[in-house]
């Protein structure tokens, strides 16, 4: 197994102007409005946003897993192959093989009727055409890689015999079985205890180094992003509103929304009894998006211009970009 971290410059995953539209009974709704980003080999990218910002749908669209009434447009290039909108059969050779997913809830992501062994070997037999014996051996190796104690016995267990954290480890092991180029983790720690959360994040980080797999971490938890990701994408109202190196965003954020998100994180050293900070208002209703910047109604720096035109992504420095007209932030 390669253990040297290679972050080559050519991106392994390129998403260009991804748009997702859901056709409802009487109208349609645009959930993602032109999202573009790159992920390089072995890199960890965080996608952050509130509920309804479109972060999960971005992933679903990339994998062709949108609901039946969802339509995606744009381009998704995985290892120099356009995969958006291709046939289900071709997609099935990519999903789980070159791009894998870890879902949010480990309690319901495993088939309760099959032993872990069966569920793990399924992917290997399907994509790699391995024999039963070698698939079993590989599954065992992966369980050991995700640090499940007594893997040899545990592989014969049913999902209900595992705790939540252990199940998430199994899910991660399953996702990594075929050594995918990209691993998408959709809120992998949301359903877990805080202590287990940290373990899972460290585990993901280790595995990223060991397998040189790019990780896309979808979360609303800035703390989780800080622990794992080098680059961060902040989404709001179906668009990317700021992106850049994690450090730039955390310490030199140029968007009021990112700043507000960071400010809303509870801090341990805050005085007791002090109220948690919130961003006033609620996320935009995608059916009735304001004409200008979608964040304008909640923004404390809102200007007349913000209500009329929607700011585009503009480079601040290097690969740090933001979509905002206000200049007083950052630095």
């Amino acid at each position: 197994m390669p253990s040297i971290l290679k972050t080559s410059d050519s991106p392994i995953l390129k998403v260009r102007d991804l748009r997702v539209r859901f056709n409802l009974a009487h109208h349609s709704l645009e959930a993602i409005r032109g999202v573009s980003f790159d992920v390089r080999r072995g890199e960890a990218l965080g996608i952050v946003g509130e509920s309804g910002s479109g972060k999960s749908q971005t992933m679903m669209a990339m994998l062709g897993l949108l609901a039946a009434n969802g339509v995606a447009s744009g381009e998704v290039w995985l290892e120099d192959r356009q995969i958006l909108g291709i046939r289900e059969r071709d997609l099935n050779t990519i999903r789980g093989n070159r791009m894998a997913v870890v879902f949010q809830d480990p309690m319901s992501s495993l088939n309760p009727y099959l032993r872990i062994e069966k569920q793990m070997t399924e992917t290997l037999r399907l994509h790699k055409g391995m024999s039963v014996a070698s698939a079993r051996k590989r599954a065992l190796e992966m369980l050991e890689a995700v640090k499940i104690p007594g893997a040899r016995q545990r592989i014969r267990c049913y999902p209900h015999e595992f705790s939540g954290g252990m199940r998430q480890r199994v899910m991660i092991a399953m996702a990594l079985l075929c050594e995918p180029a990209v691993l998408v983790a959709d809120e992998p720690t949301t359903a877990l205890d805080v202590t287990v959360q940290a373990q899972i994040i460290y585990l993901l980080d280790d595995l990223r180094r060991d397998f040189n797999t790019a990780i896309i971490l979808i979360t609303h938890d800035m703390g989780v992003v800080a622990g794992l990701c080098e680059r961060v994408l902040v989404m709001y109202g179906g668009r990317v509103i700021e992106k850049g190196q994690a450090e730039d965003l955390f310490y030199r954020s140029h968007h009021p929304y990112t700043a507000a998100l960071l400010n809303a994180m509870p801090k341990v050293d805050e005085a007791c009894g002090e109220r948690l900070k919130v961003i006033p208002g609620s996320p935009p209703d995608l059916q009735h998006l304001p004409s200008g910047c979608p964040f304008a109604p909640r923004c404390e720096y809102v200007m007349a211009r913000c209500l009329e035109e929607e700011p585009g992504l503009e480079t601040v420095t290097g690969d740090h970009a933001r979509a905002c007209f206000y200049d007083g932030l950052g630095g």
Binding site: V101, F103, N111, L114, E122, H127, K128, G129, H160, M171
Partner: protein, 299 residues
Amino acid sequence: MSAAPPGRMEVEQELEDVRQGLWLDAWRRLRANRATVVSLGVLGVVILLVLFGPWLSRYSVAFTDWDHISMAPSLASGHWFGTDYVGRDLFVRTLAGGRISLAIGIAATGVSLLVGISYGAMAGFMGGRIDNIMMRVVDILYALPFMFFVILLMVVFGRNIILVFVAIGAVNWLDMARIVRGQTLSLKQREFIEAARASGVSSITIVRRHIIPNLLGVVVIYVTLTIPQVILVESFLGFLGLGVQEPNASWGALINDGAQEMETAPWMLIFPALFLGLTLFCFNFIGDGLRDALDPKDL
């Protein structure tokens, strides 16, 4: 044919493996359930009796013993269960009737199982327009009056016991399809199905591997309810002169006859009813045990 990475043989071998795993575990758990084990034993005895019992007696199904009409059970005459109002031996008739009742029960349920599960699971899994069309077909068939359907079959193809099998099977799978579809719809929303899709598993494999095993609990219970129901439907058909015809018998037909002679010759009712009751009890206990055994969470 192109040789896709996992060869057909290998996939089948693997499926075999899965099936064995599931059923082997189920068997292990089943053996721990006393009521089920006893029921299996009793049912086994009933089946053996029904298959080979009639040969033990010196009488045949149609033979009328004019010397012993409506006679109570006795060892001396060789009529161990007594005789009916035309002097036919009840022991032979009860066991021979069991052949037909059990065969109809198992065959019709088997058909409804096979057709119902694949149809319902497919409709539920595909969803949308396909589901709509498939289920409207079920509705239309459902609306067809059962008796009318049976009479039509009899008129067109003549009276034949096979037709009773066909008729009952053709109607029973509708219920099964509806139940299975409903279950599949709710299973489809579960995250492990999404996870399977996200790891590139094809639809057919998802249905076979992830949906159907999760349906088994409900299906098994339904099957144990269906077998008795089918046996009773057959007796109802027999009562109307559409089912098994004299001199052949089935449990339903015998109980019907027995009920009319209940006051003068109670044995005519007691023996067939005893066998039917015993069999139905066994199926219920076995179904209950199977349901528990098939759920990995119940150890």
